[in-house]
Symmetry: C2
Subunit: 342 residues, 2 copies
DNA sequence: ATGAAAGCGCTAACAA
DNA sequence: TTGTTAGCGCTTTCAT
């Protein structure tokens, strides 16, 4: 075990009282320059670190941020959380916080875990991901007065400004993707999305539809909705292309569906399209820029996860520090990573 | 904020002393049945939770396990850590531990983080991943007497039994993959690996070579080594197939290289091979069963990450509980997930 | 600018 | 079997 160095050891070696050491650490400006320097030297020499448990007992602050780690559902999008987590851990450390992990299968068990965690480890705040309509987790934390940030905007209507949030502008992303395809000469651009009702999915569809409409193209009939699996994406793409032979490009709500779309677009059954427009193979664009996209050469929209994580920490830290009433949300733009598929 | 319920509140409501409540929680068998029940009822009623910070000050135990989260290098294998982390968080929670995250760029900074963490949050133990030859992190922790488990065996020679470890038997995996290909009628089976020197890579190559030799096939000249990127895998596969036209299958050290191999195997330049053996397209098998494998239909070896994580927690918990001198390591077998590619 | 006292919530040791 | 005492390491009064 590491030999425990306490504030008393530092005080003794530096020839001051324990309180003075504490002051140097927490209220440096109240200590005389010379004393401060001497104390800091001893701190470095002895490798002294403030003991969190003791500090927490006094101050009630744990300097812990809790976040849930999901069981990777489909798996294909798991790497998004992975990269976000890394960014969060990194940013948190820079602000003097550590990240505590927990799991939960649904909102109910997650709220139960909130209680557990708050009672035992007392995290100073939470970062919520995967927000949805009527999210009971946000209401619960709001009710208890526990600070939190969501990565994902509050999709419910009016609750807009009740808590800080960070999100990536999905509509801006699909709009950029659609514009990219229009510029490349495509006109009948289809959309592979999720069923209406998920805020994220609807938002991404909206960006595509709006951009198409702005270009004078009616998006009606060019959209298909399905669950988020490769096979589903392939079927939906097939259906769309079969029903509208003019379709030469697909914008997709996720890389999973895009990979399915790519399969359909490259399948022998559709080879005749190469004859129709040999200069213009069916283009496909995905969302999230997962490792899969990179591996199969899929053009995709990349979320600025590092920045998003940094923004979450910054908003949370500010909420914890001051008595910040309400904070402006942060909306970041995804960027298009162009590869062979478009 | 949640209204803080302390042990004193429980004691008062239950009409006992604080110590009795503590006994009920920590040494139940020393308390009279009736008293215990009454106290537990009050605990449930009041929603009391033991405050970790206070307990930690007394016992010196934080019930925290620390693990590093990597910046996803290539990204394609990032999901392995992701799934392992989830399993670890889940298993830890079942044993009354929480997982604390940290980042580090290399061994040196990771060791510095050990000091930070041990001084401040005092995690009870560490889980080390990505172990390698002469790992200074293990030596450092060993030197300080800090409990830890590694996910990955100690690749250095003699240090075998100096700390508990869990690993997946890579050689057994590639052996199974090679056997699968032999059974399917392949004989000249190539291997796409990493440069010699990485324990993991050498181990996986060994399983392939051994199995081929056992089948009476000389593995010489059938192996290529390269860094872990899709493009490198493609080039290596092309080189191997060009130099040995008899090659009809590839076992790969990673999904990244396998995806590259798949590209090469399916490329037009190699179409002539279909004429030579039209019944036997070039088969490819990867390692790690990442989402990419699933997306592109790649047969791959799946690591039992949930079990591995559970074993890590179990070994660490045992090391923390008793005065277990040394513990038998855990070596788990990967399983072959068969898809279109083989 | 510095020091002394008190107490955060808990449990190990001891007393009853 | 249950209760009392003390103290883990720190910071927030308050006094010097």
């Amino acid at each position: 075990m590491a030999d425990k160095v306490t504030i008393a050891d530092v005080a003794r070696v530096a020839g001051v009282s324990r309180q003075t050491v504490s002051n140097v650490l927490n209220t440096p400006d109240v200590v005389r320059e010379e004393t401060r320097r001497r104390v800091l030297d001893v701190v470095g020499e002895l490798g002294y670190r403030v003991n969190q448990a003791a500090r927490q007992m006094r101050t009630g602050r744990s300097r812990l941020i809790a976040i849930r780690i999901d069981p990777d559902r489909d798996g294909i999008n798991g790497s998004v959380l992975d990269r976000f987590l890394h960014g969060l851990t990194d940013s948190a450390a820079r602000s003097g916080y550590r990240v505590l992990l927990y799991t939960a299968d649904d909102d109910r068990t997650e709220i139960a875990t909130f209680e557990d965690l708050l009672g035992a480890y007392e995290p100073d705040g939470f970062v919520l991901t995967g927000t949805h309509h009527q999210d009971p987790r946000a209401s619960w934390l709001l009710g208890k007065g526990v600070p939190f940030v969501t990565f994902g905007r509050p999709w419910g209507e009016e609750s807009e400004a009740r808590h800080p949030w960070v999100d990536v502008d999905g509509a801006a992303g699909t709009a950029a993707a659609t514009r990219h395809l229009l510029d490349a000469g495509h006109s009948r651009i289809g959309f592979l999305g999720w069923p209406t009702g998920s805020g994220v999915g609807d938002d991404r569809r909206e960006g595509w539809a709006r951009t198409l409409a702005e270009a004078g193209i009616d998006p009606s009939g060019l959209s298909r909705a399905t669950s988020d699996a490769v096979a589903d994406g392939e079927a939906a793409a097939r259906d769309l292309i079969d029903s509208d032979p003019g379709v030469t490009a697909l914008v997709c709500v996720s890389d999973s569906l895009a990979v399915g779309g790519l399969h359909a677009a490259r399948s022998p059954g559709l080879a005749w399209r190469v004859d129709t427009r040999p200069d213009l193979p069916i283009a496909v664009i995905g969302f999230d820029d997962t490792p899969v996209a990179k591996a199969v050469g899929l053009t995709s929209l990349s979320q600025p996860l590092k920045e998003a994580a940094a923004s979450c920490v910054s908003l949370l830290a500010r909420a914890l520090d001051g008595t910040q009433t309400s904070q402006a949300p942060v909306l970041l733009e995804p960027s298009l990573v162009v590869r062979q598929s478009a």
